[in-house]
Subunit: 324 residues, 2 copies
C-alpha cells in the first residue's frame, strides 16, 4: 500500500503539499494540484483516517458566524444555511460572536483550526484584511464588510424609505425612528432611508431618533423615553422587528393603542412578527433566500465553480398587517 510520502515523491512535491491538496486547505497552484491528484490515482493511494474523512463529502463543513443568536433573525438565517448546506452535502457549525471583535477573530481562528472548507459571516467589525488572510472562501451576509468580498445583502435603504413613506401614507405626521447600532452598515442604511423621507419635514426633530441595540430590551427603554418626551409621536419605524416588538410592548405599557394611537413598523420579517398582537407590519427580507443564496455561492467558491456575480442585493417587500 502506498503512503503519502510515495505520493509526494511521485508528484515531485513535499508531503505538506500533498496534505494541503487532501485537506483542501492553504494555497496550492492548479498545476500542482493536478499533479498530486494524478499521482494519487496512479498509485491508488488511500489516505489515512483523517484525510479520508476530509475527502468524504459527508465531512465537508461550513462555518457560520452570527453576531447575535438571541435575535430570531439569525436562527432563521442559520436554518436556511443549514438546509441548503445539507442538500449540497455539507455540514454547518455555528458560532455566536456577540458582535465582539475579539470573539469574531477567535471564532475565525477556531473554524480554521477545525478545517472548515468555507465560512459565512455576518459581522460588525471584521475588515477585508482579516478575511483575506484566511485563505479560504468567505461570504459576507446581511452585513457588508467590503464591496470586494462575496456578499449577500438586502435593499436596506429602499426598505427603510418604503417603511417611512408607508407611515406617512397612513396619516402619521410625527414619525420616530429606533435606530440600530451605529457601527453596523445595514443600520446606517436604514437610518439613511428614514432621514431621506422625513429629514426635511417641518415637524422633524433629531430627538425623534432613539438609539436601540437591535434587541428588545433597549428598544422598550428607548420607546418609553421617546414617548415620554414626545407624546405627539404617532408613528415609529424600528430598524428591526425585534425592536418593533419592543416598541409595541412599550406603547402598550404607556396605555397607547397600536395602531389607533401610534402606528409601528419593523424591518426583517421574522416569523415572530406574525405572532405579536397586533401582528406587525414590516419590511420583509427574503431571509431564507438570503441564507440559501449565500450557501450556494460559498459552495460554488469552495468547489471552484464559475460564478457570475459575487455581490448580490436582494429585494425587500412591505407586508401590511395590523400594527399600522
Amino acid at each position: 500500500m502506498s503512503s503519502i510520502k510515495d505520493v509526494a515523491k511521485h508528484a515531485g512535491v513535499s508531503v505538506a503539499t500533498v496534505s494541503r491538496v487532501l485537506n483542501d486547505k492553504g494555497y496550492v497552484s492548479d498545476n500542482t494540484r493536478e499533479k498530486v491528484e494524478h499521482s494519487i490515482k496512479e498509485l491508488d493511494y488511500t489516505p489515512n483516517e483523517i484525510a479520508r474523512t476530509l475527502f468524504n463529502k459527508q465531512s465537508k463543513t461550513i462555518g457560520l458566524i452570527v453576531p447575535d443568536i438571541m435575535n430570531p433573525y439569525f436562527p432563521e438565517l442559520a436554518r436556511a444555511v443549514e438546509d441548503t448546506a445539507t442538500k449540497l452535502g455539507y455540514n454547518v457549525i455555528l458560532c455566536n460572536s456577540d458582535g465582539n471583535t475579539e470573539k469574531e477573530q477567535r471564532y475565525l481562528d477556531v473554524l480554521l483550526q477545525k478545517y472548515v472548507n468555507g465560512i459565512i459571516v455576518s459581522s460588525n467589525t471584521l475588515n477585508v484584511n482579516q478575511i483575506e488572510k484566511l485563505n479560504i472562501p468567505v461570504v459576507s451576509i446581511d452585513r457588508e464588510i467590503s464591496k470586494g468580498l462575496p456578499t449577500i445583502v438586502v435593499e436596506n435603504k429602499k426598505g427603510a424609505m418604503m417603511a417611512t413613506h408607508f407611515l406617512k401614507s397612513k396619516g402619521c405626521t410625527r414619525i420616530a425612528h429606533i435606530r440600530g447600532p451605529h457601527a453596523i452598515v445595514n443600520a446606517e442604511e436604514r437610518y439613511g432611508g428614514y432621514q431621506e423621507v422625513v429629514g426635511k419635514e417641518t415637524w422633524f426633530k433629531e430627538s425623534y431618533i432613539a438609539n436601540g441595540n437591535y434587541d428588545m430590551e433597549t428598544s422598550i427603554e428607548a420607546t418609553l423615553e421617546l414617548l415620554g418626551l414626545h407624546p405627539e409621536i404617532d408613528g415609529i419605524f424600528a430598524a428591526n422587528d425585534i425592536m418593533a416588538i419592543g416598541a409595541i410592548k412599550a406603547a402598550y405599557q404607556l396605555g397607547k393603542r397600536v395602531p389607533e394611537d401610534i402606528a409601528i413598523i419593523g424591518f426583517d420579517g421574522i416569523s415572530l412578527s406574525k405572532a405579536t398582537i397586533p401582528e406587525l407590519t414590516t419590511i420583509v427580507q427574503p431571509i431564507y433566500e438570503l441564507g440559501e443564496t449565500a450557501t450556494t455561492m460559498l459552495v460554488q467558491l469552495m468547489e471552484r465553480q464559475p460564478i457570475e456575480e459575487t455581490y448580490r442585493i436582494l429585494d425587500v417587500k412591505l407586508v401590511e398587517r395590523h400594527s399600522t
Copy 2:
C-alpha cells in the same frame, strides 16, 4: 529538536499513542499518559502546529448540539453555554439537529472529526450506546438520554403540576393541555404532571389534550381546533412557552380574551414570555443556570477534575404575569 517519534521511542509507546495524548482523544491509560507526558518534558518536545493549537487553551472547543434553533429556548441555552465556556477558556461550536436522528449522529461524527474536547447535547433520539462510543465526555441537557450519563434537567413533572394547580386555583374548570412531542422525555413528564392533577376530575376528557410540536405553528392550529371542538375550555397549560404564545394568538383570533375568557400558562421562561401582550404566566426554568451547570460539569469531566454528582435536577418556579 525532538520529534513525536523521539517521544514515542523514549516513552516506549507508538506514535499514535503520543498523538492520542496530545490530542486528548481516544483511550489512553493513566499510566501511559504519565509516561508520555514525562517523555515530552524530558525531551522538551514542542508539538507541531496542529498539536500545539490543541495544547493551547485558546483552541479548546466544546460542541453543543441542539434540536431546534428556532425555539428561543435553545439560543438562550446556547448563550449561557457560550458565556460559561468563554470564562473557562473554551470555544463553543453549535450544531442544529432538527431533532433528526440521522443529523444528530452526523453532527456527533462531525464534532469528533473536528476534535472537540467534549459535547453538550439536547437530544430526542440518541441512545446510551451512541454516546459511549464517542469516547469523550458528553453531558446531556434538558432532555435525558440515560440515567447513567452526566445529565442536567429540570423538575418537569413538578412544574407541570404547579402549572395545572395554578389554573385550578384561578377558577378554571375545563383545563386543556397542549402536549409536546411524544418521544421527548420532558414532554412526557410535563404531560404526566397535568394528568396527575386533572386526569381524575369528573369533567376531564382525553380530547382536552392536543398534540403540539414544541413550535408556534402547530400550537396555533392545535388550539384553534381544540377551542373549536370545546368552546367550554377556560384554561390551557402549554408544554412550552412558544406553544403558549401560539395558544394566546389562536385565542385572540377566535375573539377570546386572555385571561378573562381563557387563562393560558406556559413552561420554560424564555425572554419572549415577558414580551407578549398579555405577558405570559409560566413555569420558569433556570435556563442560564442549566447551561452554566452543564458547561462547568463538562469542563470538569474533560479536565478530569473530581465531580460529586453527574445527575442534577434543577428546580423551577411559577412566575405569575397577565395571561392567567
